[in-house]
Amino acid sequence: MSLAQTGKYYLPQPSLWPIIGSAALLLMAVGGVMILREIHNGGWVLLAGVAILFFMMFGWFGEVIRDSEAGRYNKQVDASFRWSMSWFIFSEVMFFAAFFGALFYTRVLSVPWLGEGDTMQQLWPGFKATWPTAGPGLAAEGYQFTPMVAWGIPAINTLLLLSSGVTVTWAHWGLKKGRRGQLIMGLAMTVTLGSVFLGLQAYEYHHAYTEMGLTLGAGVYGATFFMLTGFHGFHVLVGTTMLIVMLLRSIAGHFTAEHHFAFEAVSWYWHFVDAVWALLFILVYWLL
């Protein structure tokens, strides 16, 4: 096997970014704990950590983008990126699986158990194990909330995200056919749809907290509702940010019809976020 066939693998130079990233996460963790335990200046430590993390991401991603645009990444590196993004998305699937598992466990197993048996009758007489529930203890204290129904903002949000899956694919077709206008237009539409989704979800949360008594503390329904939709919303935020970067890079003339894995990775991620929403819509909002 000659050099021409195997190619020369790209080896990056020593880099300061990783250690900066570690310092950022350490500061964020320590700052976060300081805030939780009400120690002075925790907020500043956390903020410093976040600022350093953003600095690291700008610097590190910038370096990768410059290397990519300079053509230093060969086919083998491209394949490595593809493998790694697939496995990263798999890890995200498993993260959400933990919370979907908690939803399944409480709805199907533990909440019904709380409504049966002599011990439960002694502890919380009169508790009806139905879903949604704030749980027997909270119900006994008179805690009330209104569950979130599917056919309102959530249904609109479903339409928004499904459409955004179409627009990002349309943008990809444009990129592959060398139509930059279509690429930029498609990305801009996707970013808009993602942002409107986030706006509507923020409104929904505000409404839940102020009008419906539906909070993180609303028993296991509130906990699973906010943790599942909250982590999903955070992923939409990250995805939208990445799409904005892709949009700016497209405007700056980055990517070619053959070489554009950054764009594809973001669109894979976006479709993953879409699929999670479809599950959320069915299991959290619809099947009450």
Binding site: P14, L26, L36, F99, Y105, G135, P136, L138, A223, M227
Partner: protein, 525 residues
Amino acid sequence: MSDAAHAHPGHHTHPTGIMRWLTTTNHKDIGTMYLWFALIMLFSAGSMALLIRTELFQPGLQLVHPDFFNQLTTMHGLIMIFGAIMPAFTGFANWQVPLMLGAPDMAFPRLNNWSFWLLPAAGLMLMSSFLLPGGAAAGGWTMYPPLFIQGGISYDLTILAVHIMGLSSIMGSINIITTILNMRAPGLTLMKMPMFCWTWLITAYLLIATMPVLAGAVTMLLTDRNFGTHFFNAAGGGDPVMFQHIFWFFGHPEVYILILPAFGIVSQIIPTFSRKPLFGYASMVYATASIAILSFIVWAHHMFAVGMPVAAQLFFMFSTMLIAVPTGVKVFNWVATMWKGSLTFETPMLFAIAFVCLFTIGGFSGLVLAMAPVDIQLQDTYYVVAHFHYVLVSGALFSIFAGIYYWLPKWTGHMYDERLGKLHFWLSVIGMNIVFFPMHFLGLAGMPRRIPDYALQFTEFNQIATVGAFIFGFSQLIFLTVVLKTIRGGAKAPARVWEGAEGLEWTVPSPAPYHTFEVAPVLSK
């Protein structure tokens, strides 16, 4: 295997001093850092174990406060698993996977550096929590609620440290999987790959599948502690047992994460010193994969005592016993590899043989515990402690020692001191059995784990165990001496350090140059 091993001196100029280690993108540098970090953590968590054993030398309370005792058991477990064993195996992967595959480096060298440097951050958070008000987390390494929801600042710090270590593991695993799938030398097909690479491929898959689940579980702990959620509180409709389900869905694959790379190391060493190829290579691969798949459907055998339906107990009991089949295949293959081989007993081989024998004892006590009716008796006794120390100390840790002795000459260019190595081996294997074998009897007699005091009739066995613990603990100073001596000097090691060794790593000079396989090697078969 290879007839061309081009080793160019580094043409990258790399910084020197501390900056070399902070900024390095070299898999050998990063592997070295992982291994040193693991060694430091091994001694830290090992000192905690010695404190625990000292307290348990006599019944009654004499040395430490009971709450501090709980902090010690909690941190000993967390640090040994996440700080010592896992980073040590990742260190091996960093050093060996590129060398074995004929790759110039890991697929993502900068990410590799980040994966490592997250660990000291997490280690710092865990160790410093001893100094905080209330001391370190004392809820057990399994972090069960409601206990883990009630503690102070260290509990939050521990949860976030677990998050950071998980992040490190996931990024490290993505790197290793990508390297194995995408950077093998041309012609090195998956089924020709050294077993060590196979076991790490499957381990990395397990890590990516389960670390996020652990992250989810501890996130729920964090929100239950601080943000008013009721995941694990029955008053809000939650269930503390749900934490155990989610935790052990991670936790059982985790125990294979801690042992599969050990299988890989031993599968490299036994053929070398038997001067025979590994018996049943393909069946080894399939057995490893079967263990990994089964590991996802056995988790509730850790929870037989929580009150599960009989059908669930039966399912988890039989699925657990099923794991003995592929594990038995492996043990059979190791023994069959040695059968009629021309065996020699250098230190790596001694540790590997001890691994096969003693890990099998740990496997058998695992089968005993897998039986639901028996486990009801043995749950939370010293029998469980004996079981998992046989698989983790004489299993995982012994394989790490074996691997260090095996590859240290390749890494440093010097032979280790065989006499000291053998002394380390014999003291370790004898000490280890003195500590942990009596624990079987203690557990069968009903001594509960994680308690600083015990009934009088348990005294003798506890005293024996404590003496063994000090023998075992202090023999590790011999190991440290051997490693330091080997780095500083010693007989010159040839490229093929061991007569019977096969594989690409033996085609590069010893010590392996800073950059290897910048051009893919040619495989001649």
